[in-house]
């Protein structure tokens, strides 16, 4: 089984995790259209993406960098780690 490196629990079987959607920020001061976009729409990119993942047993959220074509998990980040990288970008 494919394994995923959880920043809190180390390598675990991927069946212990729940996919949580594309990483993006909540819209601020936005219109209903922006909200619809946030709630329903996706980039659904073929390639390298950043996503929310969740370790189900320990209720732990984190961010993973994944290749949606080759089915490889490239890196995982704690939320704090990822947000600081995002800020610097």
């Amino acid at each position: 089984m494919k394994r995923l490196l959880c920043p809190a629990n180390g390598y675990r079987n991927i069946s212990e995790f729940t996919y949580g959607g594309e990483y993006r920020l909540e819209p601020v001061n936005s219109s209903e259209r922006d909200w619809a976009d946030f709630v329903y729409f996706d980039d659904n990119a073929a390639g390298i993406v950043f996503e929310w993942w969740y370790h189900t047993a320990t209720s732990y959220w984190f961010v993973a960098q994944r290749n949606t074509v080759s089915d490889e998990i490239i890196r995982t980040y704690t939320v704090a780690e990822f947000e600081s990288i995002e800020r610097d970008r």
Binding site: I14, F41, D43, N44, A46, T68, D71
Partner: protein
């Protein structure tokens, strides 16, 4: 048809002609370019030519005719959905399916064997009662069954009360059917080609040219092709094509896996599905048991298979049909499915003028092939969205009017 068989069987050289237009150069321009030669693309081309006299049409596919999800699906055809819009749409598709072999003069092996969905909980029974009422109201045959009726209908099904999740009842859909998926796309494409439509395989659309907010042409690996109208029908690749036109879609692409056993004597007539066990099973007319289930757990543009999913399918199957424990798996495969948040498709205009969407078919789009082709062709020819598909437009998400079919779709297809 049967006479042809006798006549040609007695000849040494086959007199049969190729079914599809043979390879030739792409023209510089077509009235309509259809992206994707699956069942949906082929059906749109067929109805455009047949009912609207529009034959200056090219159907482009990056691979080969019907090699996408059309080739990979498990051919469950049913109309026992939950919303008024969904029920009416799929109901009309089923009636077109019933006449397809005559329409094409080509056997699509449509068999109306009925479909049984199993309940393993009171919550499922409540959902089934609701569906049965909605279905009956719109003329779809659908009713609740108790355990005794299920035992009579499917004697091979395990009704063991000490099973992990005992069967407590079922939703019987007498209209439920199956058909040969390849024959459906071949029939449509042959009919379209006979009327002048061109099929171009190994022709990948790599870009879409837009000016003044309207589509002008598509770029392919064989050059640029101008068009008055373009429509995308590319299933798992829907978001990628839409992005070329600058359109975002409410779609995520998930793999869906299936497998098939060695053949057995005919013993299972209806299509049987258990949403609770995430599995559905049916016996094909050549005796194999086709086994499918729910989508993979995370999005992926890859048709790889996983052992975990095969184990989960086998697990559910053996709970329903323990006699299959010794069966050998002959083949297994996956397709990439374009899942929408409400488990309903997206059909209609797009934000780009003259660019139309036939997308969001997820795990349920084979059964819609005829009606989608017919209504999309009407839309393309007239510019007016037919009432039957108006609720399924992309804008519904911005209106917050999702058509929730989750409860009537998961693991039933």
């Amino acid at each position: 048809m049967p006479f042809d068989l006798i006549k040609n069987g007695l000849r040494s050289a086959s007199a049969r002609k190729p079914h599809f237009s043979s390879a030739r150069d792409l023209k510089k321009h077509y009235d309509v370019v259809i992206i994707g030669a699956g069942g949906h693309g082929a059906a749109i081309a067929y109805y455009l030519a047949k009912y609207h006299g529009i034959t200056d049409v090219a159907v482009l596919d990056k691979a080969y005719l019907g090699g996408g999800n059309t080739a990979r699906n498990t051919a469950v055809i049913r109309s026992n959905y939950l919303t008024e819009e969904g029920i009416k749409f799929y109901r009309d598709s089923l009636s077109l399916f019933a006449n397809l072999s005559n329409e094409f003069s080509y056997n699509v092996m449509f068999e109306q064997r009925g479909q049984l969905t199993l309940a393993h909980s009171d919550a499922a029974i409540r959902n089934f009662r609701w569906r049965a009422e909605m279905n009956s109201h719109f003329g779809v045959r659908s009713r609740l069954l108790d355990r005794a009726e299920i035992r009579e209908l499917v004697p091979s099904l395990s009704m063991n009360e000490s099973a992990r999740f005992p069967i407590v009842g079922g939703l019987w859909h007498a209209d439920g059917a199956t058909a040969r998926h390849d024959a459906v796309v071949w029939g449509y494409m042959r009919g379209a080609c006979e009327r002048g439509v061109e099929l171009h395989q190994l022709t990948e659309v790599q870009g879409i040219d837009i000016s003044d907010g309207a589509v002008q042409s598509v770029q392919t690996n064989r050059g640029r092709v101008g068009c008055k109208i373009a429509v995308q029908a590319v299933a798992g690749c829907s978001s990628l094509l839409a992005q070329m036109a600058g359109i975002r879609l409410p779609i995520k692409t998930f793999p869906l896996q299936a497998m098939v056993t060695q053949p057995y004597k005919p013993l299972l007539v209806p299509l049987v599905s258990s949403p609770h066990l995430h599995v559905y099973v049916q016996q094909t007319s050549r005796g194999e048991f086709v086994i499918g289930g729910g989508s993979d757990d995370y999005p992926l543009y890859n048709t790889r298979s996983t052992l975990e999913q095969k184990e989960s399918l086998a697990d559910g199957t053996l709970e329903l049909f323990p006699f299959l424990a010794q069966a050998k798996i002959l083949r297994q495969w996956a397709g990439i499915t374009d899942m929408t948040p409400d488990y309903s498709p997206i059909m209609g205009p797009s934000p780009i003028k003259n660019y139309y969407l036939d997308a969001g078919w997820g795990t349920w789009g084979f059964k819609a092939t005829p009606i989608c082709g017919q209504t999309m062709a009407q839309l393309i020819a007239t510019g007016v969205t037919p009432d039957l598909i108006r609720p399924f437009d992309l804008e519904r998400f911005y209106r917050f009017q999702a058509l929730d079919e989750t409860g009537a779709t998961a693991a039933s297809h």
